[in-house]
Symmetry: C4
Subunit: 386 residues, 4 copies
């Protein structure tokens, strides 16, 4: 389980979504009859897809719409919605910026302090839609904002940074203690992001309720380019799944893992489940929804970093309603619409009756090699209606 990269130095080969494919099952199932529900703490959700806490994707209205459709959209408590009374003016300004100005404008916009009263206001706005309010913060502010959020009625708290571990060393600031945070708050806590077996296990052992898996997953990912750090998602998810299953055996507590990042097609989402995920978190797929506040633009929270900005504002365009993106009918043939339909069909073809069974489906290594000089591209010519 390692190859020599130099004298005395071994490295493990890790795999990303582009390098694998799923194998059809010996039994197949009518896609309408597979079960895709998942659970987090006391909650059960109809669809195992979360919208990422990005300001261009999730505002309180989007969170409401997503909740009604059976999913989760995470509102970022560190974003514009808790910094500004009138956040849409700010979003508009970001969206209108040229690529050259964007990084600088973002850096400025996010220096505005977070207003605690707005945290409560936004959570209440989500609750008015009659859906669970799921909000996120960084580890450093988890105690402070977590308390406020819980009081305001938040249902789930997400504590997220690029790399999260149980042990963070700093003499400059106080580091978060997840066990203490759990004892302080009574709502379920999702923590991320992490990637290795050991870190996953250690985080689960603190008592937290869910984990986000993924650090620098994509080949094009800025974290990998800027910091050299990154683990491809198939391996990261499979490792975390192994830790989850070990922890379940040890503690009888099942802590779901949510694969976050690196999925660029509906097929990648299917592969994440086959790699072991209980749910997935995606961002730009939802940036294309009519309901997304960014009007087809999105940006990550590493983008406005004051000293080491990573990423920029990306325009993906608006292609349809959130409902269409989740359930179709797809008007595009590229896998960006009807994500739930794609998952159901994939599970049906793999013979998986539930997410738990999909986690066991056969994976093969089959790199997506691009070749020139292709002359006649054979299209799939299959019977309709299936």
């Amino acid at each position: 389980m390692g190859m020599w990269v130099g004298r005395g130095r071994k490295a493990r080969r890790c795999y990303g979504f582009d390098e694998i494919a799923l194998v059809p099952g010996a039994v197949t199932i009518n896609p309408n009859e597979v079960d895709i529900r998942w659970k987090l703490g006391p909650y059960s959700f109809d669809i195992p897809i979360l919208a990422a806490a990005m300001d261009g994707v999730v505002d309180t209205k989007f969170a409401g719409a997503m909740g009604k459709l059976g999913g989760i959209a995470v509102l970022n408590l560190e974003g514009v919605y808790t910094r500004y009374d009138e956040p849409y003016k700010v979003v508009e300004k970001i969206v209108a910026a040229s690529p050259e100005e964007a990084t600088r404008i973002l850096q400025t916009v996010y220096t505005e302090p977070i207003k605690e009263e707005l945290v409560a206001t936004r959570i209440k706005e989500i609750k008015q839609a009659g859906v669970p309010a799921v909000v996120s913060t960084i580890p450093q502010r988890a105690c402070q904002l977590g308390k406020i959020a819980e009081e305001a009625g938040a249902d789930i708290l997400v504590v997220q940074s690029t790399v999260t571990t149980v042990r963070h060393i700093s003499s400059e600031y106080e580091t978060v203690d997840f066990a203490r945070l759990k004892s302080m708050l009574s709502l379920p806590i999702i923590v991320g992001n992490c990637v290795t077996y050991n870190t996953t296990l250690e985080l689960m052992q603190t008592g937290i309720d869910g984990l986000l898996i993924g650090v620098g997953p994509g080949a094009a990912c800025t974290t990998r380019g800027v910091l050299g750090i990154g683990v491809p998602q198939v391996t990261a998810t499979a490792d975390a799944a192994a830790a989850r299953d070990f922890y379940f055996k040890q503690s009888k507590r099942y802590v779901p893992i949510i694969t976050d990042g690196g999925m660029s097609t509906g097929g990648d989402i299917c592969k994440a489940f086959a790699s072991g995920a209980d749910a997935v978190m995606v961002g730009s797929a939802f940036a294309k929804a009519q309901e997304a506040p960014g009007k087809g633009h999105h940006w990550g929270m590493a983008t406005p970093h004051a000293n080491l900005p990573r990423g920029t504002t990306i325009e993906v365009g608006t292609t349809g309603s959130l409902k269409q993106i989740l359930f179709g009918p797809a008007e595009l043939d590229d896998g960006s619409q009807n994500l739930v339909g794609a998952l159901r069909t994939s599970m049906g073809n793999c013979g998986a009756e539930s997410i738990k069974e999909m986690q066991l489906t056969e994976i093969i290594i089959a790199p997506a090699i691009k070749t020139e000089g292709k002359i006649f591209q054979q299209q799939q010519h299959v019977g309709m209606g299936k």
Copy 2:
């Protein structure tokens, strides 16, 4: 026979056409003296190449022309020719559509119901050319349309969907039982598509007469992008060939396998046989024929899917007659013409006297890596006449 992709998770490395090449034999044979015939049930065919059941490629005239040249063109009983009295108007409309409109127009066109009387009419049109009529349907309608087709004089029935298995679970609709279908009909039945050793073996054990091999084979294949599912064709074909050979040993019945999809050059067709195929099915190669009704356009049957369309209308242009595409003389140097000549020459150079021998030719792994900065590209400078 597996590599670790994550803790406790192994995956098998599978191979596609781009990753392999064939090795010349120690003996070579005059291409004119190799035997490329193959058999399906009671029929023998001069060339082991089938045209896929795509509406832009195969109408009844095309099927007649192909049959006369020694091959098979499959007419889709679920396509426009059995839905419309005047199908060419519909084809014209599809061909004239812009890429943006195409998916929607296709979705509309294929909602028109299939007319049973047209099924009979089309089969008779093919029979008038004095060639075997080979027609296709999806599993759900196999009993109904198969009966009508047989009565109308069809010679071979193809039952095809994206992923076909012996066991399909559904409470919403009745699933096909291939053993029962075989007992109901007396004509040979080809079933597809499938990819694994076990599924191939199970399908052969139902008594069917031929199998289509290939699910999401190409890197660019929509099935792989949308569903994450796909097995590269070299591995899929070799696995199916192993099942065929085992089944033959067990039952003394030889069920040919037809590699379907993923072949984009004449060289890929040669590699399919070297991987174990008895015949190959190609689509867009034939879409380029003057005889193809799509006038240089083709589209798959997954394209008009109401909820999850995959693929779109592709324009490949018209490059020559069907005869030229099969037998040359080639006017293009790209392997898209004289497919039969390419197969014969390849077999001659590999020292294979028959398709059975070609199935044993040496394969090597030799990825088609694309490199930049190439300065002088050496062209093959070989003696003429060979």
Copy 3:
């Protein structure tokens, strides 16, 4: 020495030039003091590079110029120079053709019969330059044209086709018997092309004097695209070298191998020697010479094939004199000029005093992966004068 590509099917991983690199030696040598000479039969040559028998590259004047510089340029006895009294008019016509017309024009031009008296004339033209005359033919005409060539004073005969073996089966035409050809003619004979250990050994055992190694070597090679056949050159050369060394041990006769094709930079030439070559044959590198009759255009002899043309006319432009291409000074930094200087410098850095030592230099596997998103490209900043 094999990987599973499917059930019961193993394949060997083969390597091309793009996938390897050479390792500097523990000792280095002044490039001016390495020995690059090689021998073929009774002849010794100063530089181990041959110009391929392509009509756009080698006419009798080019052969004379190349010979004077210490190398070999092979004149094709099947090309325009032996078909036409005034071949330059024909070359001009080919060069002036548009890419669309080129294949058809070539197909026409090469139907003109070979004139035996021109064979003698051309050989004499080369001999007038005071250099060995090296001419090529296809196996089918080797006896007939070989006899004429020898009588006209040719010094070395090349017998070349895409794939050459000792055993070719045909009932339509007589096949060449190399042992008989050797007994018929007294001049040294080079035979090609071949790729495997066994075929190399069998061909050497017929008594021939040199071998051309390479079948469909490049990823972009038409033979691989059209026929699926090809072996990457590092493996092909190393296998042939092993056969050469075994045959030498067995017979005390050293039969040099000439790697032919797949080299696209000066670095690739260096790698061919490190893989085991005694000499290399290149085409388009020389098509760029002012002396080349094609005025910066070249085409292979498979291009005018009547039924299955492979390749087309390629324009590479004229970049300098033949002397400059071989010995510099290079005005281009892309490795297309000063090929001999590059070989000497590479040998010096690898610590190889002779071609024989260069055949033992350490090879590593180091794929030339192309990556996007490169930000600052570090240039080599080394001391001058070395």
Copy 4:
């Protein structure tokens, strides 16, 4: 530790930066609290990054600025600054040249002889900034220029050529003896470039004080294209690190290794340390500094080679001050600014408190495969402030 590339021929798989990634640690550290200092001989430096001895990057003013910021910029004693009294006119001419003229102009410019008095002048100019003067020469002139440099007050001497070994064979010129050079001079000597375990060890045993690691590292590197020679930097660095650690055990003397070349992002720099480097040398990253004399252009010292020029003048543009490139704040998100911040953040995320610990961080093999057809690119959406 080797794969068969042909009969009797094994090759080792080597790895470059694009093929690996780093794994986050189980413990993470506040980036401000990691230690990135390194030592060379009696000197200690705050940042482990050297600017390469390229005329478009380093003049005496740049060397002063770099030294004040805690790093090293090497002035080339073979460049324009020691050949011309007024070097900026020459630099201007090179910068203004079209790509076509550039190689020829460079070839001319560097024929001007080196003036010994200018060597002293330039060194004194650097010393006036109050920083160590680090200057470079080629092996052939190391004794002569080293003596002059030492007398003029130089603090460190770099002796650099494409491939440097302890044993160089030549009857035409005298070869350098590093042990003798060390005894002649009292200042620390850095030697390079080299790549293998044995050569690294042998060079360390001569008594030299530091080593530059890297020969033809990049896929696009001219040395690899022209000469076929090159070892990817992860393997080269890990091998050299193993030799360094062995030599330290043997001699109790720690000779730092400086990875030179092949780094094209800040992430690559982080990976170099994880591969075993004590420091890194980069060129074009600094060519983008306002302080660089090339005004956004750079060229290597192999470029003006009279017979075998490699590389050309490259325009990278000016993007910010040297301070910004080293310490940020980054205005670009591509990893080309705040290199020190990136290194600190990467070390923090990997849980490495020092360069020595970073050398032990876990490496994985995770190729940066480029895939087409990506539909929604997920951006990293992490908490701010970390």
